[in-house]
Symmetry: C5
Subunit: 298 residues, 5 copies
């Protein structure tokens, strides 16, 4: 692909940006993001309980998958990466810069998730440690009464990341008492447009519901412009349904990839790795659904 | 025109300020601002749907118009400019420094739109990238319970922009539970006076409603003093009605220009460019309504 | 008069402080402040309408008055001064550092007016531009739920201004849902005491109402200690009543001057200048009411 | 006494700390603090009215007393000290770093009193001016919903003051809608423990009510550990009752001194000086109540 | 044990981190934390009253215990450590960086405990004073409406502490109107996962209730990953019940230690020291319950 480095990446960082972008997408512009930030977002619900592999109870499970499976990048908080990174030095990391728990529900208070670290701190740790950090991520809750703080932090994160040649992924979720339907395709397209205005490299959004989802979602991909749209994997699903939807997202909607957590890590290591590879085969290697199912089934 | 450089522009920046002011207004003191910040302000409502050209679904449409049409400046967020600026290097840009979505309505909470970037960051990116950035913009919601934060940020933006020789446009909108009539001409004049007190080069306000609008609006132009008053284009309208109103704004009210978004970009590229040129002919080239209609019709 | 430079003015700034104090009060310790900050505080109500000279619709009217009339200092926001200062270089300026509109009323939310600029920014602009800036002003709403922020900002402003040898005027207004009578003489005296604790050079307060106002007001002048008390001019009044009250404020209450806006600028330039001179003759030149009336009548 | 310099005083400041501690307590470890910060806290209620000496209407009265009476330290805001310090250079000062008015009552909003100045600014003014500044003071309202801000500011003030070798006094007052009885001895002891955790040199608290007050108060003195407990003087009282209570505080409860305002400054200069000396004789010179009464009566 | 230094500890600080970790856990990876921060958290309730040794009324009691008993680290606020550290130089300290009182209850307002000091200030005092400071601690109330501020401060504290080679302990307590059961084992496991995402060395949580507590708690130990889980001692209990539970926590649940306050310091010095030693014998020296009871009984 023909990479167009954004103009807020200064000359001194353009080569690093280019190299990281190539690494992130294997030169295809498509991103397979393995999401490992739910230990805060969902506490232990996603990691322990009925239907979840016992291996998932230990956070190292995430690193084992990221190390053995084919992925574009593994997203987690800096603290978790710092604890395991020495044993998983080849994993490409994306540092999730904010996180909140799900304890306070929207009807009690509109969501706000504050930035935990400065981009410069991530960059400093990356340089000191040699960790293979390709980018940073941040969640914005559009329509929250705290939206203004999150938009300002997101803008700063994109600006500062690009200055250092780091990539950015914005999780853009409409959420708050003012938001009636978080899955409205028109609203999701709006969220993608906001990410474009913020200048992010990628935006992670929820996928609409319903039979027209794949075509409805084209509006979002268009609205995002040069910002790549990555679909959140959502709650657990049958692998075939999941991969079929993923194939549609890419080939019907024009999405630039996916961000998947639970559908991978709630499986045993071996199954999780095969699921990673199946997702990767569709997202990055342009395989058909049938080929991906073969990967999945080993 | 005889340009009077404001006293908060230091000696080292006066020549840059003068040059940018000339570029912005083609030496006439009149500004045709093409507004492209609505992807946040209105999400995807302005870009996709009935009566909107399909071309508008892609943000690059804005840049194509800005590049092919005659404009004074194209206003958008830094992120969007960073993504397309390398392909549209000749477009004169104004960086909109704050934006909010329209999800939370005033009856739920008074509006607040926080600053996304420092002026010094814009200046640094301009220098590094060579982007033709002429100024910065910021919205203040007067009468909001968050007014104090926005007034303070606006004052800082004018001060810091002038220090760097950058021009400023303030979007001054009375809005909040305390504001009964946002289009009251006396209140709009007040908003212009606030922009004058803030020292902005231009103020963008809504135009009053009613048959006396053009003469009512003189109060606002007077109250703004040496700050040029630019009228918001508002919602879509017939081109003739739009251009006729624009002519009145300039020749009856004494406005220093206009800021138009939807009335331009919701058209196909070719029509949009002709609309730009028609608006420009009245605003900057001092043409009559009939001449502008000829431009519009090609 | 025997000037006692406050101890928070460092040695390097004492001469500048002394010189500015002499300029501000013509060596008398009495201050005639021409208030031009109402374009924010009262929007356009004070400048356009029945009973107001048409000249007042243009902010330059304020500068023409300040230039032609005899005044101690002209108070306005930095932005406005920056726009006109090059044409009125001899006017002595006081930069009002905060302002708010009157749109949100106290019963909706307690008043808060945030600082727009740092004193160091004012000082820098003064040095770069050569503007004759003698001091800075700031409003505190005592009894507002936001009082703590304003007291802290006021303390910083006095400290930083004195460090630079700039004079300070604090507008001290009890206002908020907790304040039952803003004109209670005992409360006004309290406000003067707060200004003294903040170390301001001058405090601007409202004058009590009622036949005993002049003697009641002595309590405030005493409470202010070495901080000079300046009476707000208030709403429009007949010139004779205004000047008579002013004479009482100085000679019965012991006030150190007055701060007048509407009673001056709502008149035509010629009348406004004569009003300035009449006020100045009482405040600074120690004239009798009759002499001042002669000045007023030309 | 055997002074134990706290470990957050760095080596370079230990001698200054020691010298100031000796000055503050005349080498006894006991503190007589003359409180002059009420012009903000109580507005003009404490300074003008029935039963108050007319001399008290002028803030200079406080400095005259501090200069002629025997005191450990005179506490006031920096602004007030800056205005009078040149004429009262020998007075030992303690700069009160926060203050609020009493206009907003607790049932309307929980109390918050924000820091006005940084310790480094006090230190800089002390060095520039030669003012004899021995320490700084700050009020914390425990149990207020704003408690967290005040605890954090208090911790910073102690840390920064000790770094400069300045002493600290914390006014610890349980106050807020959650506080049922501000004078509960157990709660006052808790407040003393908080001051100990903050590392303050002295803590000023209210004295319990009731016949067992002196013995009840021992709990507080114990809880404060190495932080000296100073009793607030409270509202006006007969001198004999006041001095008798003071004697009990020191000899029964083990208090390290007292902080008295109204019981001193509401008297004429001569009486106020005698009251100071009587208080000082008990607090610092270890006199009996009878001896103190003789001092009081001249 | 085989210590894996986290990757956010830069090369220059790794040796210090390693040395402190060894000191903290005596090379076992198990931590016995003696908690002395309750003078703020619980005011004087834990230190004075029925069933509490009279020695506990004086804060020095805590230091005497920490000095004579066997402990891993003594946690208290910097201010308290500064006052006594010169007399107890051998005690290993952990500086608790935030604290709040218990006056405002959750039904009135969700809990927020603000950071009192920067890690860099702790580090500076440690270097200047020679105090044996091994780490820092901080409390996060998950599920509070103020959670976002505390998560961001916690992330900064871990990052800054590790940069200096200091260890971290996070007190993770679900608390707020949104939290129905603070002792729900699944929720406690979630809290441990958050601490892991924050990258803390240790997390202090409450122990579940009920007969299955020890096995239920395994989920939390697993969720914490490489972050050691330390159980809060809780309210006073019989020593045998306490030690038995502690033994279960370590040997059934897999906890990395305990944090005990009241169960130690409410005893006389001699008993408290024996209790420390008994706890230490189980936690660090791997003794049986019977051996620990012998230690307890001398």
């Amino acid at each position: 692909m023909n990479l167009s480095v954004p103009m807020d990446v200064p000359a001194r960082s353009r080569e690093r940006y280019r190299r990281r972008y190539q690494a992130l997408t294997a030169g295809t512009g498509r991103l397979m993001l393995f999401a490992g930030d739910q230990k805060v977002e969902h506490l232990n619900q996603d990691f322990f309980g009925t239907g979840i592999s016992a291996q998932d109870a230990d956070p190292e499970h995430l690193f084992r998958i990221a190390s053995h499976g084919r992925i574009g990048v593994f997203a987690a908080q800096m603290g978790l990466i710092s604890r395991y990174g020495m044993d998983y030095p080849d994993v490409p990391y994306l540092v999730k810069l904010n996180s909140k728990t799900n304890l306070v529900e929207t009807q009690q208070a509109d969501p706000y998730s504050a930035q935990w670290m400065e981009v410069s701190q991530v960059q400093e740790i990356a340089e000191e440690s040699g960790l293979n950090i390709l980018g940073v991520g941040y969640t914005v809750y559009l329509g929250s009464e705290e939206e203004s703080s999150m938009l300002a932090q997101a803008a700063q994160i994109v600006t500062c990341a690009h200055r250092e040649g780091l990539l950015t992924v914005l999780w853009m979720y409409p959420r708050g008492r003012a938001v009636r339907d978080e899955r409205d395709p028109h609203l999701i397209a709006g969220a993608c447009g906001v990410a474009a205005a913020l200048g992010s490299d990628f935006v992670k959004v929820n996928y609409p519901r319903g039979p027209q989802a794949a075509s409805d979602f084209r509006e979002a991909v268009l609205a995002a412009g040069r910002t790549g749209v990555v679909c959140a994997g959502g709650s657990s699903d049958s692998p075939h349904a999941f991969l079929s939807r993923l194939h549609d997202q890419i080939h019907i909607s024009g999405a630039a990839g996916n961000a998947t957590g639970r559908n991978i890590h709630q499986k045993s290591l071996e199954e999780a790795v095969r699921m990673c590879n199946a997702i990767y085969s569709i997202t990055v290697e342009n395989r058909s659904l049938e080929e991906a199912m073969e990967v999945l089934e080993g």
